[in-house]
Amino acid sequence: MNNFQVVAIIGLTLLSGATVVAHLRHWMRRGACFFWCGLWIAVGGACLWPNKMSSLAHFLGIGRGADLVSYCGVVAMLVGFWMVYIRLLRLRREVTLMVRRLAILEAQRTYESRGHSQDDRVEPKDEPIS
């Protein structure tokens, strides 16, 4: 095992441990915990057995194992960006719903307290258009 592999395995083991702890503290769902642990194990496997990666890459018609890792990394990053963006959109929608609810509740409270119903509107000051 070379130095890079030692550092990578230590780092990935720590990441896996942190992922499990996050799940145990209910910060992460079980499915997400499995996903991330699986990802760390796969990366660890690629570090430990680079020849196997080359074989897999060759089988897939990519050529080199390093290229396969790069391609997978790029795809994973794009999927990650997309998921974060979608999550951001949902969050923005939830903020809008909250802002709307506040606005309507505040208005209803204001106009109810003034007895401002449909039958008790402030009449316009000028004549209607014709």
Partner: protein
């Protein structure tokens, strides 16, 4: 102009929703003109940083305030929901920058009042658009073409802020796109809900101010992006 539509009874059941963001310079005049119709004017201040909210409170029937700026689509939905909760039978949406003409409102309400349709959409290309720059005209034409492809709805003006809805139609409307892409979403909702719609000629008067505040042609790309994204993320 049909006098029935302008009768106090009908107009008192009409709520005009005006989304406003930093429109202090012209909101007073716009509300004043709208109140002459005897309709209820609902201004939704979309987190303005100027005095729009306080100016609107002096003139409008109802003023709602978004504590954060959420966009025109969000403000419209807030106004529509509030109007429905107050018992609105007809809802009109009207821009706060003064480019729409109050005289067009009865023309939009007439077909709905007569039961001919559920929704009336204003069209500047059937009516008159004064001072429209050619770049904007081209952008709007592209918007019409895009709407035709995406929604399958044939309109002459897909992004006009002057519209009217019956109560039943407004109840089916739920705008989820906060920004300017809501106009395309609205057409989708109308189409999917099977609402009967009509286009009505309206006049748009572009001023230096409305052009400064309006959307740049580049923003059209963002609107298309937001709209397409919303179709994949629901």
């Amino acid at each position: 102009m049909n006098e029935t539509v302008l009768s106090s009874d009908v107009m008192q059941q009409t709520y005009i929703v005006v989304p406003a963001y930093n429109e202090n310079a012209c909101i007073e005049k716009v509300i004043h003109e709208l109140r002459l119709t005897r309709a209820n004017v609902v201004v939704v201040d979309d987190g303005s940083t100027d005095e729009t909210y306080y100016t609107a409170r002096r003139e409008a029937t109802y003023v709602l305030r978004h504590v954060l700026n959420r966009g025109q689509g969000a403000a419209l939905q807030t106004g529509i929901e509030f109007s429905l909760s107050r018992g609105a039978q007809f809802i009109v949406t009207f821009d706060a920058d003064g480019q729409h003409q109050v005289e067009d409102i009865p023309r939009l309400l007439q077909p709905i009042y007569r039961g001919e349709c559920d929704v009336c959409l204003g069209s500047r290309f059937l009516g008159e658009s004064i001072g429209i720059p050619w770049v904007r005209k081209m952008t709007l034409r592209l918007g019409v073409f895009f709407t035709r492809i995406s929604s399958g709805v044939k309109l002459t003006d897909a992004h006009n802020g002057l519209r009217a809805f019956s109560r039943e139609a407004a109840r089916q409307i739920c705008i989820t796109l906060d920004g300017m892409a809501h106009a395309s979403e609205l057409i989708d909702i109308i189409s999917n809900a099977g609402l009967i719609y009509q286009e009505v000629p309206v006049s748009i008067r572009y001023t230096k101010r409305s052009l400064t505040k309006g959307q740049s042609p580049w923003n059209a790309f963002r609107i298309v992006f937001d709209y397409l994204l919303s179709r994949t993320s629901k």
